[in-house]
Amino acid sequence: MTLAVIALLVLLAISGTPLYIVIAAASLYGFYVADIDLQAIAIEIYRIAETPLLIALPLFTLAGYILSASQISHRIMNMMQAIAGWMPGGVIVIAFIVSAMFTAFTGASGVTIVALGALLFPALVKMRYKEDFCLGMVTTSGSLGLLIVPSLPLILYGIIAQQLELEQTFTLNDLFLAGILPSVLMIMALVTYSIYLHRDIDVVRTRFNVAKLREAIWSLRWELPMPLLLVAGIYSGYFVISEAAALIAIYVIVVEVFILKEISLKKLVDVSRDAMLMVSSIVIILAVSMALTNVFVDIELADSLFDILSQYISNKYIFLILLNIFLLFVGAMIDIYAALVIIVPMVLPIAMKFGIHPVHLGIIFLANMQIGYMTPPVGINLFISSSRFKQSIENVYKSSLPFLLVLLFCLMLITFVPEISMLFIDDFN
């Protein structure tokens, strides 16, 4: 009976039924089997109102949506050229860094490709970088930055892990610190590859111009302090993440709507509405998943899965390899937020039994999701790039493949050298 229900639910899920419906149905069935009053579903959904960190989610999303709707990408583009246009390969270096930060702020919703990539791509081609390379680069940049504060998936992983009441606890700050070196590693690897690729090509360089640089930085005078304040405020512990989120959201509204006037009040309403609908679609899945997670805990799913797995998997390295393959597949198929909410409660307890630190697992998980965004055949960013730059999807596959391989190499390092993620975490030894 239960097997039939599971099969039916999976069928519903892959045929496009909203995931929150499928999860709610699974939870209701779980309660029914366990002889728990179905009213429990309401109690579980209400736990959304008892999750302290959750408020950061709508606020950061709002800030990101407003930034994407402003003219900031034009201003960033000018600054990049002014700072690094004179240096061979300089624009590439700074483009990777800025794209990663842009993605961290706007969420990996493809905005980086659509807004920033759209300016970057023609500019790079004009500077005589190889067209294939440029296409691959902007596609890659769409999900680079997932591990940098205040990326929503990073925060969401922390929220979900804290809901699980694990034996080994960690703070959001641990997670933020853990994301730093893996991000640096990925950017450095991508830059190295890019410069190696263009070693014989003489790209167009602009002359360094102090006035232009000053002008470009001046046009970003309101936005530039933001990441600095955010990072300083959070890492120093002066602001908790929800307060930082509120301040950033308010700051962005004041700057873009009232000071720079790049967004009208009417547009602000539209953008806010759009942002809230996006948040809702995540939070409602999170809400019903809390019920499902409880069902999992009741039936001791993690224990039985671990018992089965440990018969075949003798050590944690084999487990990690299989986990990566599984997550890459998941990342390419399912929306990142749905994947986090559904897969983390299942995988995290098992991974911990294999001796993997929850912070390290979070970094592995998100690094996989990041790559999943650009994994053929269904990685979403490939399609976004294809339609935005009017390129055939095969062309996008081909040009982003080298970047994919570079990132896979980084993923291996991140997976098997925990120190890259855990270096700054105190209680890890």
Binding site: L12, A13, I14, S15, G16, T17, P18, L19, Y20, I21, A24, A25, L28, D37, L38, Q39, I41, A42, I43, I45, Y46, I48, A49, E50, T51, P52, L54, I55, L57, P58, L59, L62, F239, S242, E243, A246, L247, A249, I250, I253, V269, S272, R273, M276, L277, M278, V279, S280, S281, V283, I284, I285, A287, M333, I334, D335, Y337, A338, V378, I380
Partner: protein, 158 residues
């Protein structure tokens, strides 16, 4: 008549969403300022803010049904022909409606229970009131899955 009701609901939810969001921004700012002046701010403010998030998310979820913004796995859609696709659509929207009505029914009875017990959520706000958005949202979502069965567009979400 039905059309009019739908229109009113659309406007109402849009306003409510914006008011809640604005209120989150204002309250958060107030809380930060108070915390810096009086050390701990207003004790129940955080609970109030968290309740806001629940309401924001559920009202947004209601609106997301109408615009087909809910997260779903849609890559199989492109392999279905039109007639298969519309049959599948009817099945999944009926299932969605049934699940929504079930959740609505049980959360309504949970709400009644809390009404009887007079449980307090925070400050002087009763728990049944903050909970009430759950049965309402799921009822509206269920109704939307039925009434929009033909006009919810496919494929706008992933």
């Amino acid at each position: 008549m039905l059309k009019r009701a739908r229109r009113i609901l659309s406007i109402l939810e849009q306003y409510l969403l914006m008011v809640l969001l604005l209120s989150v921004l204002v309250l958060s700012l107030a809380q930060i300022i108070l915390r810096n002046i009086y050390d701990d701010g207003i004790v129940w403010m955080d609970a109030l803010l968290r309740a806001h998030v629940l309401w924001l998310a559920l009202i947004g979820a209601m609106m997301a049904v109408k615009e087909n913004r809910h997260i779903a796995i849609t890559f199989l859609n492109s392999y279905m022909n039109e007639s298969v696709r519309s049959t599948v659509r009817i099945i999944k929207q009926s299932v969605s409606a049934i699940i929504c009505f079930t959740v609505s029914y049980y959360s309504f009875s949970y709400m009644l229970l809390e009404y009887e017990y007079e449980t307090i959520a925070f400050w002087k706000i009763p728990l049944w009131l903050t909970t009430s958005i759950i049965p309402i949202t799921f009822l509206v979502m269920g109704l939307r899955y039925i009434t929009h069965i033909n006009d919810i567009e496919e494929g706008s979400s992933r």
